[in-house]
Symmetry: D2
């Protein structure tokens, strides 16, 4: 991916994705069909069991999924995701979500997103599908 496009995409997602911003999520890497995001688990990410909320983990994975699937410039909307929560994450840990593109055509594409902690322990694994509109994401 050209550096210029990478920068545009990063700026777009960093400023337009308010939910990711509000919850302390960052973009680490962007490439064609690929993204890596991160989040430090803070007090506000905890659930009733005092570990990182499934919604926060999902959102981090979804953020990487959105960037990767929109990286070609065509608007891609998440239509279905399935996530398995494998290990819990505690306050103070930094989590990373990395994507793998499984398949894509002009209307649908499929990704696997893995959420790990700093010691590469797998926290969650997500499978996601997008539907692509006949529209560009950045106009």
């Amino acid at each position: 991916m050209k550096l210029e496009n990478k920068t545009k995409l990063e700026e777009f997602f960093s400023s337009h994705d308010k939910f990711a911003q509000a919850n302390g999520m960052k973009i680490e890497e962007i490439d064609d069909g690929y993204a890596k995001t991160s989040m430090r688990v803070e007090e506000t990410h905890l659930n009733g069991a005092n570990v990182c909320h499934g919604g926060a983990i999902f959102s981090l994975a979804d953020y990487a999924f959105a960037i990767a699937s929109n990286s070609y410039g065509q608007l891609a909307l998440g239509i279905n995701t399935s996530i398995s929560f494998l290990n819990s994450a505690k306050k103070g840990e930094t989590l990373y979500a990395t994507t793998k593109e499984i398949d894509k055509n002009h209307k649908l594409a499929s990704y696997t997103i893995t959420v790990t902690n700093e010691e590469d322990k797998i926290i969650a694994i997500m499978q996601g599908m997008v539907y692509k509109k006949d529209k560009n994401i950045i106009t």
Copy 2:
């Protein structure tokens, strides 16, 4: 469900689920194996496409799922959820997540969670499974 237990459960989730709190989610109803949560879509819930973020919708559904599955007092952890995003939600809309208990035994239980807007349009549908620990949620 006894009113006393209902109150305890509501207090527990309202105060301990920091992520739900931080993102403006509320508990509307609680009963045995049942919960209804709500969230008004604010600026901070939006994604890059200017509609409610999948992560926010997931989190609202997950919040209802957590309350419903923990309503019997035994600690229940979400292990797998699959969500289909069917319609987008805009800023200013209020979303509701309601649960339906499909099946439960002493170790596993399964729920369907439906997210609708004020006009009963279905925004998303989630299927979730919990694994129950030999532990109570409120000690």
Copy 3:
């Protein structure tokens, strides 16, 4: 749904779905966006644990899902399904899969499919999404 179309659809699926036929699956009911299928659990449906194979249960649910999603005449292809296996089924039991249409537009549609036994015990619950082609299923 007009009786004539119902008959056409039933004939189409009964004769063209070779896998459903080969595995003893039957169509019980058809309507707009709705189908009910059945299967008696035989020796050939069993898995290594001597209960009905997940693949057989999935296929029964998928059969109902395919008929329901194609019932309007437009070719609909299953793109994503998530299934939770809740209770086991034994040889000699008859299983039923019934569909519920959650949402549909001209390109995507979503269904919940419930598999029960004769005593209405839930064996499995499936959530499925189809992508619709600009093509009719019966030409």
Copy 4:
């Protein structure tokens, strides 16, 4: 994995999984937490659209998933699977399902199963979770 255990496991699944047998599925490889299965797409595997039935693809993936998750000897039951169908498969093609173990503890384990054709085109990708009983599969 010791050759002796490999042989036992293969014999068990080859003879006891009646559904896999009835639908022409074979075991290609077995190892600790790993399995590869295959199936030649025959007339009996076709659906109404004349391509390999989603139920047959699922069953092939599920077969590999079952062997991999039971490979340690402890009885593992599939509780949740999510599958995305990415490309269709035609009569005469041979399909392969290979597993990847994502995480496991003494009660739960998670796998990704990829179904490909002879040219390594991805036909489907499945994410599956098992619940382990306090029981051995081969007694």
